[in-house]
Symmetry: C2
Subunit: 220 residues, 2 copies
Amino acid sequence: MASKEILGRVPPERPGQPGGKRDRNRRARLAQLREAGLRLFLAHGVETVTIDDIAKEAGTAKGNFYRYFEDKEDLVAGIVQPAGEILGEAFDRCLAALEEARDERSLFGAYQTFALGMLPLALGHPDVVRLYLQESRAPAEGARAPIRALADDIRARAVQLTRYAVEHDLLTVRDPRVSALAVVGAVEQLAWSFLNGELDAAPDEVARTLISLVLRGIRT
Amino acid sequence: MASKEILGRVPPERPGQPGGKRDRNRRARLAQLREAGLRLFLAHGVETVTIDDIAKEAGTAKGNFYRYFEDKEDLVAGIVQPAGEILGEAFDRCLAALEEARDERSLFGAYQTFALGMLPLALGHPDVVRLYLQESRAPAEGARAPIRALADDIRARAVQLTRYAVEHDLLTVRDPRVSALAVVGAVEQLAWSFLNGELDAAPDEVARTLISLVLRGIRT
DNA sequence: AAATAACGTGACTGTGTAGTCATTCTTCGT
DNA sequence: ACGAAGAATGACTACACAGTCACGTTATTT
């Protein structure tokens, strides 16, 4: 997924075993830079934010930024990485559940598995999700490339899932690609509005309505 | 919608009656600049493209750009404007049809009216739609502000429409906002994939599947 | 065809930015 | 306690960009 060599610049031989002051400082700086970047990216967009801005927001010197990250794209990749991992695992678990499924009922179970796997993302990294949604349709070029790559991956895997379900007679739809993409679009739009405070409804109410929409849309 | 004074810099007293060489040249330059901008924005993103790039792509001198547009934001607004107008009219017509509607059947008719109103946009300005989809979740700031404003407008009007239908007992849903946003999200995602060639299906087949999805999702 | 004014040009200025590096500060091993 | 190496700093370089402007070109008017 990462096209560059190694993610971040930190790991070329680090001293001080885990727990030492060096190690703690390093983690703290990394977190500061990532959080500063995330804040600024959300407020002004990835492309308009400069390294100077990020360093200033993180309370460190510019030169120090380059000790931790290759460039802005590398920082973006670092910010988005955990989301990609969680998502990948959720997809994996869903596909595994799908391989066990034999009827429509267990199909719903598989989707539920997926939704459950997404919870830690929604609860633990809501701002990363916002950044993803904000920039996910960027050209696959420059600093936003890692986000676009993630978006392409999500769409591909959603289609793959639906296609699998259709091929194994768990689901009947006109076109699995269209169905999968419609669901992805609906979910992402709702997440976007909700995370931006445009939907003041209770989260579980939104989730419930969404699920009923998806099931109704997915059903034969 | 436009926060600046006047859209574009052209209209401060223009000479040569419509049809004269001046007039034709002026229109041609405007079109060249808009098309060049659109091309580059789609390829590299609005924020990363420079005025130099646009002027070069349009085959004109940089200084000339500023004769036609205030700045990049102004150009973006000019590119997106026709889409905004077509959309606004389609929404107006749909709402008008909704005001005449008395049952579920005429509700579907109203939605059909809307879909029909969108055709000239989809057929006549597909690249503008792509640009909109690409940048519609940008921060409401800088050159991409006009696009974000359009996106906010679309969501608001979609919600307004659904809310109206629910209040007049043409439709029963858990939450009109959630339903409306889900539909918008699904449609936009499908348009995005289709316009980027990821959906090689025939347009009318995609449209049909989409409509059946929407109706099923919308229905009580 | 001569005068007028818009149109078009590209060099120029000021500002801002990515990335580097010599230097100073902090932590680690002994 | 002290030397070695990582961490942090911010001035610095080289370049790129937005916006301007004095000048040359082309259409329009009379």
